[in-house]
């Protein structure tokens, strides 16, 4: 749980009094984290920006209702999960494979564009693509549960409350997600060395 600092309290108070600049400071503090969640949830850079900014807009509109009984980030994350679930209902009806191909071409280039073609870059790119493919194998719900449990460190009960389901469902979802990822990324111990060697030969 991210503690609410005095500075943050002040920013929240000012933002609640319609100070857009104060709200922008709050956004700058957590934007990267929300963006990453959005990016790995919807697997598309443009969608991630739209979705994360939608979260900030909703947060701004709902800020008057924020009481300091939980941390600002916990409150924000709740809005994020709701926005993701709404997005899931409307946007995940298109064929996943097409999105994945578009993603691998555009986003892996974006991530690794600054690091030329060193063996490390190629190795990372191969890893990036295999993890991206493995993540794409998960259902949106499994992916969200996994991200919240693994990346956000939320408990099963917290996820269950946020996603309006039982803790058992969340546990099963996370377990299945890990099993899928493990099966997809199942590598022998010497495989990273093989990949490095392969990259060095390129």
């Amino acid at each position: 749980m991210v503690p609410v600092t005095d500075n943050e309290k002040e920013l929240i108070r000012r933002a609640q009094a319609d100070d857009a600049n104060a709200f922008s400071f709050l956004a700058e503090r957590y934007a990267r984290r929300i963006y990453l969640l959005a990016f790995h949830y919807c697997r598309n850079a443009q969608d991630a920006e739209d979705l994360s900014q939608e979260v900030w807009l909703k947060a701004y509109q709902a800020l008057a209702g924020f009481r300091s009984d939980s941390s600002f980030y916990t409150w924000l994350r709740r809005i994020t999960i709701n926005a993701f679930l709404n997005h899931q209902r409307t946007s995940f009806r298109r064929p996943g494979q097409a999105v994945l191909v578009e993603l691998l071409d555009a986003d892996s280039e974006r991530v690794f564009e600054s690091r030329a073609t060193s063996p490390e870059t190629i190795y990372n790119k191969v890893l990036f693509e295999s993890v991206m493919t493995a993540m794409a194998e998960l259902t949106p719900t499994q992916r969200l549960m996994f991200l919240l449990r693994h990346y956000e460190g939320m408990s099963y009960d917290e996820i269950a409350t946020a996603m309006n389901c039982s803790a058992g469902t969340v546990k099963k979802g996370v377990s299945r997600a890990i099993a899928k990822l493990r099966a997809k990324l199942d590598m022998d111990q010497d495989e990273p060395e093989q990949l490095t060697r392969l990259a060095a030969e390129c």
């Binding site: 963006y35 850079a45 701004y60 991530v111 600054s114």
Partner: protein
């Protein structure tokens, strides 16, 4: 007693929490090669995923643009808010028109229910299937006419008619001896005879 399934579940939870296996679990891992392998693979998978998530963060150069776009959206979201006392005719006119459509009117509940019921009846009235209209369209149809040749048939019909008896020749006294013997007879007195035919009294 060691149970691979239980141990693996505990290992997953440990790795998700980011903590190291406790002494009892570490002993189980030493004993079971399969669980040890599972632990290694899980640790690698989760570690790789975390690294991947961190790696995909956009570069620092991305964020100024991101925040500028967000600021624009926030300002756009702020615009409809009207400062109190600040006259904005366009907005006021719009809100006046909006009021007409969105304002609530106090209606007694029974009246409201009656209105709703009438509307419901009008909307959900069982529709009588309309009789199909007969559309008369002149269609030219050629009908073959069978031409029959007139034929006059002549037949002779014989009818039975009652045969007529040939007329009897008047009886002469010469030919009848009875009449000849009565010639010159004069009755002594005349007697009037009344002949009664049948049983009817009316008949004379």
């Amino acid at each position: 007693m060691h149970n691979c399934k239980t141990t693996r579940e505990r290992l997953t939870e440990l790795l998700l929490d980011g903590s190291e296996p406790r002494i009892s679990l570490a002993a189980e891992l030493r004993e079971c090669a399969d669980c040890r392998e599972e632990f290694r693979a899980l640790k690698e998978t989760l570690g790789l995923t975390t690294r991947f998530i961190e790696t995909t963060a956009p570069p620092d150069s991305y964020w100024p643009g991101y925040h500028a776009r967000l600021k624009e959206k926030l300002q756009a979201a702020q615009q409809p808010r009207i400062e109190p006392g600040h006259y904005q005719p366009e907005v006021q006119r719009r809100s006046w028109i909006k009021q007409i459509f969105l304002s609530s009117i106090r209606v007694p509940v029974p009246v409201g229910l009656a209105v709703v019921a009438v509307f419901a009846l009008l909307i959900f009235k069982p529709s009588v299937p309309a009789e199909p209209q007969i559309v008369r369209v002149p269609v030219e149809v050629q009908v073959p006419v069978v031409q029959v040749q007139e034929k006059t048939v002549e037949r002779i019909v014989y009818r039975e008619r009652p045969s007529r008896q040939p007329k009897q020749a008047p009886v002469s006294p010469e030919s009848d001896p009875t009449l000849a013997s009565l010639e010159g007879f004069t009755p002594a007195e005349s007697v009037k005879l009344t002949v009664i035919k049948g049983g009817s009294t009316n008949e004379k």
